[in-house]
């Protein structure tokens, strides 16, 4: 009986391993996509000359977590960076006119 179980166990382990690597590949892909979106938004903020340090920190955190293989946290950090970058773009766009209200006359 033991002899017959060994190949089954090997196949089971191989399947788990394959599933795990497939899952890891998917999360890496997901991270790459989330990071690319965040990076593009931050680049746009850079064109508007209004990047935030918090965005840069979140992008660095995303890269750091991805390098450690922790894609769940890496994706979360990339999404946070994207939200921050979009807020800085919104700020810069609003301020194109809003600054005039503060001028001393």
């Amino acid at each position: 009986m033991r002899i017959t179980w060994q190949p089954r166990l090997l196949v089971f382990c191989a399947l788990i391993g394959a599933m795990d690597s497939t899952f890891a590949m998917e999360t890496q892909t997901e991270f790459n996509a989330a990071y690319a979106v965040a990076e593009a938004a931050e680049k746009e903020a850079g064109i508007l000359r209004n990047q935030w340090t918090a965005t840069e920190a979140a992008l660095a955190e995303a890269r750091n977590m991805a390098a450690k293989g922790d894609f769940k946290r890496a994706i979360a950090a990339a999404k946070e960076a994207e939200a921050l970058a979009r807020a800085s773009i919104f700020q810069a766009t609003q301020e194109k006119e809003a600054w005039k209200d503060r001028e001393i006359h």
Binding site: N50, Q51, A54, S88, K100, R102
Partner: protein, 280 residues
């Protein structure tokens, strides 16, 4: 029928263009309004005293500062600046060869608008342009040597009123206007503009710091800051301000920072140079 909508659109676009916006600016009126705002806000402060920043607004801080001025913390930098200024470059030329009046007593005329390049030239930029003209590497705009050189040049201008000119050139007016826009624009995660601290809240405390009024704020530059544990140039001040509101600072002496310096210096015309200064 198609002609009129197109013409209206064209007129609207040209009216909104930056060059047209600059044509409508009146820097002299701006400067008057700027000064009046601060004179009304702080009626007990003598106009010339605005160059002393928080010390003009807080009696206790002023007492401490006056005692500190007996042995000012910028003295070492001043000595170093004097030596650096006199030291010849490898080609035998000096900084003095690059400036009107041999560079002595001219700080109050910087920034200038350079019509050849169409750019604002600050004192820091002029010093590096001088070095590069004579085959020397540029200094860091946030480093000790630049602070020391500008400290010495400011010292030779002490008491001379800021005398910034905006020539009759649309590019110069645009640079001034861009500097003004930068000054009032909110930025960084904290959503602060320069004006948030230095127009709306001078005299108030931000943690342990008493905020300085924008009027005369550059007259004391460069400054020794206890917080920095050393001297800092105008570039260093702008970079630090941006970081403090959690914005990614621009490159020192970027066009935006130079234009900002142009605006802030112009609106302080008539107030005496007091640099180098010392701040907490």
């Amino acid at each position: 029928m198609r002609f009129w909508p197109a013409l209206i659109m064209l007129l609207a676009l040209s009216a909104a263009s930056p060059s047209r916006a600059a044509e409508g600016t009146d820097p002299a009126a701006d400067a008057r309004a700027f000064r009046d705002y601060f004179f009304k806000k702080f009626p007990d402060v003598r106009p010339d005293d605005f160059v002393n920043g928080p010390y003009a607004l807080d009696k206790d801080m002023r007492r401490q500062w006056e005692e500190k001025e007996q042995f000012p913390p910028y003295e070492f930098s001043l000595e170093m600046g004097k030596e650096l200024f006199a030291k010849p470059f490898a080609n035998g030329k000096h900084y003095a060869d690059c400036f009107p009046g041999q560079g002595i007593g001219v700080r109050q005329t910087y920034p200038r608008f350079d019509e050849a390049s169409g750019q604002v030239v600050t004192l820091e930029l002029a010093l590096n342009q001088c070095r590069e003209t004579h085959g020397e590497a540029a200094l860091s705009y946030v480093g000790e040597d630049m602070a020391a050189l500008t400290a010495y040049m400011a010292f030779t201008s002490r008491g001379k009123p800021f005398d910034i000119e905006i020539p009759d050139d649309p590019r110069a007016r645009q640079a001034y206007e861009d500097g003004k826009r930068y000054f009032y624009t909110r930025r960084g995660q904290l959503n602060f503009s320069c004006a948030t601290c230095h127009v709306q809240n001078p005299g108030e405390r931000l943690r342990a710091e008493v905020l300085a009024p924008a009027l005369g704020i550059l007259n004391a530059m460069p400054i020794y800051r206890s917080e920095w544990g050393g001297m800092g140039t105008i570039s260093r001040r702008f970079v630090t301000c941006n970081s403090q509101v959690r914005g990614v600072p621009l490159e020192p002496q970027s066009e935006e920072y130079r234009d900002l310096e142009y605006f802030l210096s112009y609106v302080s015309n008539g107030l005496p140079i007091s640099g180098p200064g010392a701040r907490p």
